[in-house]
Symmetry: D3
Subunit: 243 residues, 6 copies
């Protein structure tokens, strides 16, 4: 609907993603290093392979994929104190990095990976909403680039990845269902939902929260449908990279 496109502060349609950009090979120091931007949100995703599994998998022949997430102090208008100074990783950080890790594992064949651990680091350079979903979408690319390098060197026989994965936020703001909320919209949302789907449009994770008022089964469905539309576009972008 044309009229919808006129109503968001940045001129986007209600079901329109912000401009997305994925830069591979952002760092010379890491095989898989990706800068993903969604609008003003910019996240640096890198993947590192370590040659052993975590203790709970030792001897099983299976590997693990995990993630760490952090915001640089001035990724935000109000400076975010460093967690290293506070001496502990905060609750929000834990929640996000666990989400990213689960999402990546959902599309990996951990048996094929063998007893290795892949750590995907997602460091937010600039935050304008949707940093966790941008992290998932970018982390997938960094992961594949790193694992492809292992395949190239013959360390792994074939790519231990069974599908792609991407994520987007949706929400209900002032009665309107919106795709890919920026910080301003997110701050005013009644409902906030993050959806993570495979390239085959199956759900890997859905997290919907009533920030201001509880929502109905029908509203939930609208949100999921709009998220699916956005994720299909992100998946298409990932595919266009010929990973």
């Amino acid at each position: 609907m044309a009229s919808e496109g006129l109503n968001r502060a940045d001129g986007r349609g209600f079901d329109q993603l912000r401009p997305v950009n994925i830069t591979r090979g952002y760092l010379k120091t890491a095989d898989g290093s990706v800068l993903i931007s969604m609008g003003e949100t910019r996240v640096l995703c890198t993947a590192t392979v370590e040659d052993k599994s975590p203790p709970f998998l030792k001897g099983t022949g299976r590997g693990w994929v995990t993630a760490e997430y952090s915001m640089l102090p001035r990724s935000s208008r109000i400076r975010v104190p460093r967690e290293s100074r506070l001496g502990r990783v905060g609750g929000r950080t834990h929640e996000i990095q666990r989400l990213i890790g689960r999402s990546l594992r959902a599309v990996c064949d951990l048996g094929l990976l063998g007893e290795r651990t892949v750590i995907v680091d997602c460091d937010v350079l600039q935050a304008d909403g949707g940093t966790r979903t941008a992290s998932v979408t970018g982390a997938y690319v960094a992961l594949v680039d790193t694992l492809s390098a292992l395949v190239s060197t013959g360390e792994i026989s074939s790519l231990p990845v069974v599908d792609s994965v991407a994520a987007v936020s949706v929400g209900i703001v002032k009665g309107r269902t919106l795709l890919d909320l920026n910080y301003e919209e997110d701050s005013n949302a009644d409902v906030d939902m993050n959806v993570i789907m495979t390239g085959g449009a199956k759900i890997v994770e859905i997290q919907g929260t009533a920030e201001q008022k509880a929502f109905s089964r029908e509203e939930m469905l609208c949100l999921v449908d709009m998220a699916e539309k956005g994720i299909r576009e992100l998946t298409a972008l990932q595919k266009s990279l010929s990973l």
Copy 2:
């Protein structure tokens, strides 16, 4: 359906809750103190009112509700080391206590509460799956009991609670959609979902995770519908307590 009842290890039907028990006034030391059991899962929920808001609400006239969650070391067959010994609160704990806090705030009128903080402590005495959802359901009762005491003494003019809230887990295990998973079932689930709803059957929070394989929009709907059935029963139990 009679046939369904035959298929779960503990003899329950697929859409049947475990026996639920809510004991109010469990401790003499706290106005709101509730022991909730769902099958073998037992959680002690207590609510404490402190006479100031957190810093970010100071001067706004509004209050806050927050939660802390912990498992006693032998709530589990394998002893869980104390987080006090490790010197930090773990990621899973952070994730759960943030969920409980959000769920309770969703049914509170924080302006009516005034500049107070309610801390709801959920300590798991025995764990057999569903500890976070049992915590939400029990925490609501402890919260109301504590706030009612404030109303009785005239500190608050009326109960700053706008609806009830309850939670349950659902999942897909070996192709079957199950309500209220115990530990054994949870360990084998392909999909695990926690749903939190108000007494009016609106969704407060939904968190669905593909533990083993991604799920479809249709499977998501089945899970939500079954969760709604369970939550209606828990809501009825909460109402029967005449809080």
Copy 3:
């Protein structure tokens, strides 16, 4: 003496214990799990066996028994902040758990135990004075139940326990020597003493502190004698359980 019974706030005689209750098998998740109550004080004691000694005993063929103690946040009228949040175990906690550990080791044959570590967790559900002494008395029962299970399965040839152990507090309050102080009495005590004795009425540990004024050798003797009386009763109760 009849007149003494009239003088304590809860109607007890000066040398009378509060009602004591020991519930074995309190949790399904632990072989040795005991809820002990002394009046309103309620402590959950569980024992866990791990299959290795601490580093300083490695290779000696000897085992170790240690304890951890914690108060649930609302075990007290004033909420006690969680030590996991503070990021460290406090001085009082350290002091108490070291006391419990020493007391249990005093009645164990650590050579017979072999290179194993038993961790006894004492978690205070409700505190009304005497939590550390109740912990010792209950921990002994949890310890024996756990070790008996090891004997049953043949992992240990015979019970590595050489005597029972129990504990009680005594004190001087307003000039009167009292047995088994509750919180109110403890807060007003001039002298506070914890005594731990074996079933054979030998002293394992004695800790007497002048909270308000120093005490004489004679007062010390009166306190120890009254403690012995109380511990004999606790020992009788432990024996009645046919551990």
Copy 4:
């Protein structure tokens, strides 16, 4: 008995203290700074006055006396890792510094002290048994020297100290009751007891522990009597300093 004097490894009688030396004004940087040696054990005790009470005494007009204890890394033949490196104060340290603090408070008039906090630091330069009791004896002198300086300057009207305090260890080693155990003796003790008494020979604190075997009421009395003998000598030494 003369024969007793022949039996200890260092030639002391069973009821004989090691040579004790108290050097006042050990540091130019602190009014109260004392080096106490008991045999090879050397502890530096300093006292610092801060111009406010701890939070729990704010507004009461009363002050507080507290202690901190630490062993220098090479105070011991086996290097003791620094607690600053470990990131936390250990259980033994907590136990000891709480003991020292309680002992000093037992002879102070905290109302007369006013809303001030005295921190007494006890740093062990060299350890050969009895560091906690030497700390108490030395800390008392440092405390009085510091408070006397406050009286001199008129900040406090009179010395808020009501009696002296000193401490010593006693123990049962190979069936013999010994006074003032050195490290070698302490390592072989069946029973270890620390006794803290006022100048008037009243008990401030008694802590007796069966390291190897439980002890009787009679043995306890012998230990206390021998400790009293030693403390009388330490008190005489403290008095000779004309504090």
Copy 5:
């Protein structure tokens, strides 16, 4: 000497800087945000003004400038674990951020700044030697940009900066004195020196370390002279930005 230029692995002359690039306004979220690159070393420097001094300056009318430094995990070929995970800021980090803070304060008029704190964050995106010196050079630009914004809004009457500051590393590698060492050269250096100078070519800080063998007064002078040459070029670049 032309022949010298041929001898470094990257084709540089011995006294030649790597290509330097300073991008201002790198982030939209911070007034002063600079990306500085020196060869492959890339550091993001941002400056934040907080409206109060640190406690030790409270009430003096003076402000403070401080710095925090961190390496992103994959700024290095070998992943650097996050200090937030380790729970503490490491020694090298402390050393570097203290150096940056001192360097910036050396060119600030802290009285003119007033009771404010400027925090300059230096986050290394990619490390190839010289990250601390690049941080100083970039941090100066971020600092001026942030303070200029305060002057623009009238919060400060004039720029509280009295000179520019820049830094460079020099070293002795295989007998040759080199300017601006990259990682490879730094790893093989016998002597490593960091020099920080004002725009007026006065020394703010000099830190020279014999990594492999001690150096003479004459070698020290050669190093300082070469550093001065490099810093003059960096100063010229800073001036060309018309801060």
Copy 6:
């Protein structure tokens, strides 16, 4: 110049060291234990050998020398809180102990040392400026004494030390270049420099900081020359000990 000697508050000439005293064998518990005093500054240096290298040297046949530094709480007129209480080692401490470690390694043959770690502990009993340089000078003596003991027992074939090392501070105070600053002078210094040199008068480390105003190349040379004079005297003292 005779007139210069008249101008320092303590009567010293501008280029004169404070009285230096080095006491070996200060503790019976450590082979290498040295008390060094420079004027009122007193530091206890002890050296401990552990029978393994740090992880990064494992299997290389090489050893390591490291240092730890700490100030006792009342080494200073204003009490310094314990880092063990704060739960972390501070930035200044890190900076100093890294400096001491580097200085000692510069004169050791780590291959000859073999896979051992020497930890040199420098604990400041009393601080009056120059604690880090006194630590280096004293630590060298403790190190040699400890290693000599290893040579005596045949554990090491020859002393793995190739030169002596000593350190001193210099500074510019009110326009005058001064040697060996005490606390009062250090607090008023415009420039503060620490110089560490071998017995052969080569520079191991130089750290010069403009505390108040930047300094010229010429001033730097004057400072280094004066430091060399002082270090030659300290070296002579070290040699006189016939280590």
